[in-house]
């Protein structure tokens, strides 16, 4: 019972103290994770479940040989991160991302998409 009292006290104490934020999960991307697109995309768009800290978020796109194919300059607005892509030949491309949500939680991941039939 002491534990219950403690737990409820903790919740009540902090409810008014902090703005709730959370880890930024990858919500959806364009091109989609694991998808095959017939036409090479000009940019990669990653949307997250939380707003991002632009200075501490990054993404890389590389081809099957490990060569960078993104243009490097990120555009981050709220929970969406965009990066331009070089002209992509048919093949498989790997995206590696790491972001910091506005409450300093870090998340990361990687996925592939395919260009061509």
């Amino acid at each position: 019972m002491r534990i219950l009292t403690f737990a409820i006290s903790a919740l009540l104490t902090v409810t008014a103290a902090g703005t709730a934020e959370a880890h930024a999960f990858l919500d959806h991307t364009e091109p989609r994770v694991g998808s095959t697109v017939p036409i090479a995309p000009r940019e990669l768009v990653l949307s997250y479940t939380q707003n991002l800290e632009p200075a501490f978020s990054s993404v890389e796109v590389s081809d099957a040989n490990g060569a960078r194919v993104d243009l490097g300059k990120l555009s981050i607005s709220a929970s969406t991160m965009r990066v331009g892509l070089k002209p992509l030949a048919p093949g498989t491309y790997r995206v590696r991302w790491r972001v910091l949500s506005v409450d300093t939680h870090t998340t990361e991941g990687s996925f592939t998409f395919h260009v061509g039939q």
Partner: protein, 319 residues
């Protein structure tokens, strides 16, 4: 009871207001998120709370008695890699003849240290000691003992996301587990007139992460609800291994198939509890849990380790 409230409130307030540091939080290891499991423990120190965990089952008695268990756990990081969990359970057993027995089990604390978090291989290892403090529960009702139990325990979690891409959907699987050796502080229970065995306490889970499937392998365009699910099967087992003279060395426990729904601030889990043998219970029980991610709910207060963190600006993130 009343005299505990100011102390509890003061302690909670201290934890809520005293801490500042980076928040890495509950069980993320690279791209893998290990949810809090219901019958075993996840392999990370964290700031989290299970409020409540509710279970219903039928005992192994003949005829079986109906048993309700209500539990609360609060976990708090003291430093980035060291955490403490405090737990208390309340149990009610209703016999077939209507007789009801109820009470608290012993107060439990778990001290855990994060040995390893390997992001690339989605591997986490945790060491801990579980202490059931004797004479802190309802000893008269039989739900608590007047001796303590010490259980050094090793925990692990491993995601399969580091497998080659050719393994495709299989990469969303992960396993977690724990192995502990429980030693009582007394070797003989004079009230029960029986030896108190030393026991191996162990368990494991096999889980399939739909969030991982969607963000790392393939986005199937499923309704959002399904993208938050982690189907899971857990096993929680106990085997007497020493000081058990005159008694069978029978393993008892349950196998729990179920599912966990994972949100940004909390998760909800529901599992069936299937006894592995007649000594473990009668019929299928059920366990449910609401689990709160305190680090995400209160990232600048409760969700921080008490000591050893940094309030400095975060470093540039690199791959």
């Amino acid at each position: 009871m009343v005299r505990y409230i100011p102390l509890s409130f003061a302690l909670a307030s201290f934890i809520a207001l005293a801490s500042t540091s980076d928040a890495l939080a509950h069980c993320f290891v690279g791209a893998r998120f290990f949810p809090a499991t219901l019958a075993t423990d996840d392999p990370c120190v964290a700031d989290e709370m299970s409020l409540p965990t509710v279970a219903w089952s039928q005992t192994a008695d003949v005829p079986p008695a109906s048993q309700w268990d209500l539990g609360v756990d609060v976990s708090k990081r003291i430093t980035e890699n060291f955490g403490v969990t405090i737990s208390q359970d309340w149990t009610q057993i209703r016999q077939a003849n209507g007789t009801v027995t109820q009470g608290f089990s012993n107060f439990e604390t778990t001290f855990q240290y994060q040995i390893l978090k390997d992001r690339e291989h989605e591997l986490a290892i945790l060491a801990g000691v579980i202490v059931d403090w004797g004479h802190t529960g309802s000893t008269a009702s039989g739900f608590a003992t007047d001796y303590s139990l010490l259980t050094p325990t090793l925990y692990f979690g491993k995601g399969f996301g580091d497998l080659p891409d050719s393994f495709s959907w299989f990469r969303a699987f992960a396993v977690t587990g724990q192995v502990g050796y429980q030693v009582p502080t007394n070797s003989f229970d004079f009230t029960q007139n029986a030896f108190i065995p030393q026991q191996l306490v162990y368990g494991a889970s096999l889980q399939y992460s739909m969030p991982y499937l969607k963000s790392e392998i393939v986005d199937l365009g499923l309704p959002d609800f399904f993208n938050h699910l982690i189907p899971i099967i857990e096993a929680s087992l106990t085997t007497p291994v020493a000081n058990n003279f005159g008694n069978p060395y029978t393993t008892t426990g349950t196998v729990n198939p179920g599912v966990i729904w994972v949100g940004s601030y909390f998760q909800v889990g529901l599992e069936a509890m299937i006894p592995i043998n007649r000594e473990s219970g009668t019929g299928v029980g059920v366990i449910g849990q609401l689990h709160l991610y305190l680090d995400d709910m209160f990232p600048t207060t409760v969700g921080q380790p008490l000591f050893g963190g940094s309030s400095a600006a975060p470093r540039k993130l690199t791959f």
